[in-house]
């Protein structure tokens, strides 16, 4: 077997976990609330920059930043959903409005942190260089933790959706919001909570990105090409699907990078997106639903 290829596959699986965390928020709001929220990209970016800032100025371990980032992301999601509810936007308007929000945050980020590349200093960031070997294959700790979080989110959301009243309400809203409302579910409250949760996931993805990548405001444009294939392939609103699709995209991009160079990765992910749209528009990991 080819060692380089094995390495690419293992790294791809792990980075796929990160892709899943990045995508799960967008997938949830799109699938359940019918809101395509491009502002999630802003909150991934903000999560990363806030982590960078806390580590650099206060000398915090990047993972401690989660204490700030998770509530912050939750609050942002709540505010956004309240705004969407008050403005009564439809799916299509939400796309344009959140695009406007995204552009504003893009500019704000560039103003605060400039367009230069920023990276957490190695002294305060032990995860970047930390790795161990399984046989000949190196495992980067930063991506391993991200993968663990992705698995935890997938399991946690599955439990939440199947075992709790909140989850039952969410599933009822997916089926039919009007009937759910008629049966006494406070749709607005569920929506606000879910949006908060989804945005917190996105912000968490930002923390992990900050642990092993250089940050620049424009990197968020590149995420579009990763997150949308994952969301479509995984199936809208499916957290387990996002994890599976994240791994597929991560492995495909990783193998493409080792075989044809780093620039071919976005081409491959795009082809996956097209293939997914052509052959399984409902996603690989969801059963053929009522739609």
């Amino acid at each position: 077997m080819n060692d380089v290829l094995n390495q690419a596959i293992v790294s791809g699986i792990l980075i796929g976990g990160l892709y899943a965390v990045m995508s799960v928020g967008i997938s949830l709001t799109w699938g359940v609330l019918k809101i395509i929220n491009l502002a999630h990209f802003s909150f991934i970016l903000l999560g990363a920059y806030v982590t960078y800032q806390l580590s650099t100025t206060l000398g915090w371990d990047p993972l401690i930043a989660l204490v700030i980032v998770i509530p912050g992301g939750f609050l942002a999601g709540v505010i956004m959903q309240v705004f969407f509810e008050l403005a009564k936007v439809d799916e299509f308007q939400s796309l344009i409005i959140s695009f406007g929000i995204f552009i504003i945050f893009q500019s704000v980020t560039r103003t605060i942190w400039t367009a230069d590349f920023r990276r957490i200093d190695g002294d305060t960031n032990p995860y970047e260089s930390m790795s161990f070997f399984v046989g000949d294959i190196a495992v980067q700790v930063a991506t391993l933790i991200a993968f663990g979080v992705a698995v935890a989110i997938a399991i946690g959301m599955t439990v939440l959706l199947t075992r709790t009243y909140f989850g039952k309400a969410v599933r009822a809203i997916v089926e039919d919001p009007e009937i759910a409302r008629a049966y006494g579910i406070d749709v607005r409250r569920v929506a606000v909570l879910l949006s908060g949760l989804a945005t917190a996931f996105s912000a968490v993805a930002g923390v992990f990105i900050a642990t092993f990548q250089s940050l620049s405001p424009n990197m968020s444009f590149g995420w579009f090409g990763i997150v949308f294939p994952v969301v479509i392939l995984g199936g809208l609103g499916s957290t387990v699907g996002a994890l599976g699709a994240g791994v597929i995209v991560g492995v495909a991009a990783g193998v493409a990078t080792t075989e044809w160079g780093p620039l071919s990765a976005s081409l491959v992910t795009f082809l996956i997106l097209i293939a997914a749209l052509l052959f399984r528009p409902q996603g690989l990991f969801t059963r053929q639903s009522s739609t």
Partner: protein, 382 residues
């Protein structure tokens, strides 16, 4: 005389008048940035009007304008600058290649089993990123080195660089507007509007849905690429970052949403206003604020003025015209603005404000049917 003939005569008159502008500006010894201002406005008019042929007419929202623009820029860049083709010969190739790119995308996306506007929008968003990475990857396109366009020879009959740019952008913008107008007034246009309003019903009534969507996407891509081809000269040094960024699709969406997607003139109107706004903000040294304002405007407009400013102003054209003329008059007489462009800018801002004032309070639910009725009533059958 039908309204269509009248409009066509209007097109002719506007063409003749505008064609004289560079000569007049030169003979008046006026600052030459008037010419630059106008040909940049033509660029945006063409981009947003062509975008509207797809998105406004058929209702398929596209983030892909940057892709068609980019194909155009790189086609003339490669053919004219790298291989020494005559520029005017490379130009139509740019349009055709972009058009073919549009048709290729349409072949894939419009044949999906699950038709959805959102899926289409996100796919077009991805196209530009893919083209960018392809351009970086292959050195016969760019390979990360960029292409120098400065010094590309232009035929002598076009005049000096500014005049040549003015004439070329003008011709492309004119053709785009004419196409948009003719489509709007034609049976095909009606078919496209039917697709926008309710695609399954349109299909059921015998509208060739797939063909019309392909036509709209192809036309959009063709003109986007054609104008992109011209614009490579203005860019000067073509790089992937300059071409395949979010700027073109973002501005085109904003301009069209502001102007209004339901009329062929709307996006042209929005293009002039938004371009004047950003141009003035930039010259006042507020580039950083620019994006924040653009993003904020987009949000407000989507929520507040769904039918766009053009139709609103049309409905109350008397007060709007009065405000515009009055503003220009006051600013010129008291010499408030530092140049004619500033005067024009303030006057249009005030006019836009006229459009934004809600005269009659409409209940929330009645807002959109009312605007639809308004959009429908000001069109005569072909």
């Amino acid at each position: 005389m039908t309204s269509r003939t009248k409009s066509l005569i209007g097109f002719g008159v506007v063409a003749v008048v505008l064609n004289l502008v560079p000569t007049v500006v030169e003979s008046l010894d006026a600052p030459s940035f008037y010419v630059t201002f106008m040909f940049t406005a033509f660029f945006w008019i063409s981009q947003s009007v062509s975008w509207n042929i797809l998105t406004g007419y058929t209702g398929y929202f596209s983030f892909g304008q940057g892709a068609w623009f980019g194909i155009g820029v790189y086609t003339t860049g490669i053919l004219a600058a790298k291989h020494g083709w005559p520029f005017l010969l490379a130009l139509p190739v740019a349009g055709v290649l972009a058009g073919l790119g549009g048709l290729l995308l349409g072949m894939i996306v419009f044949r999906l089993r699950k038709q959805s506007g959102e899926i289409f929008a996100l796919t077009t968003l991805a196209v530009a990123f893919v083209l960018a990475s392809v351009a970086r990857l292959y050195s016969f396109i760019d390979g990360g080195r960029g292409i120098f366009m400065t010094g590309t020879p232009l035929p002598a009959f076009l005049g000096d660089f500014r005049t040549a740019m003015f004439r070329m952008t003008f011709v492309v913008a004119f053709l785009t507007l004419l196409t948009a107008f003719l489509l709007y007034e034609s049976r095909i246009g009606w078919g496209m509007f039917a697709i926008r309003d309710d695609e399954p019903v349109a299909h059921g009534l015998g509208v060739p849905v797939f063909r019309y969507k392909m036509l709209a996407l192809g036309t959009n891509a063709f003109f986007g690429g054609l104008m992109g081809g011209v614009w490579s000269l203005q860019i000067g040094f073509v790089t992937v970052e300059d071409v395949f960024n979010i700027r073109v699709p973002l501005f085109v969406i904003l301009m069209s949403v502001l102007g209004g997607l339901r009329h062929w003139m709307g996006p042209a109107f929005g293009a002039v206003i938004i371009y004047a706004l950003t141009d003035r903000l930039n010259s006042a040294g507020l580039e950083d604020l620019n994006q924040v304002i653009i993003g904020g405007l987009l949000i407000i407009l989507v929520l507040a003025v769904r039918e766009g400013i053009y139709l609103r102003l049309r409905a109350r054209w008397k007060p709007a015209l009065a405000v515009f003329v009055l503003a220009i008059g006051v600013w010129t007489v008291f010499d408030l603005g530092s140049s004619l462009i500033w005067d024009f800018f303030y006057a249009s801002l005030l006019t836009v404000a006229v459009a934004l004032v809600p005269l009659k309070r409409q209940p929330d639910t009645a807002a959109s049917p009312a605007s639809e009725a308004m959009a429908a009533s000001d069109r005569s059958p072909p």
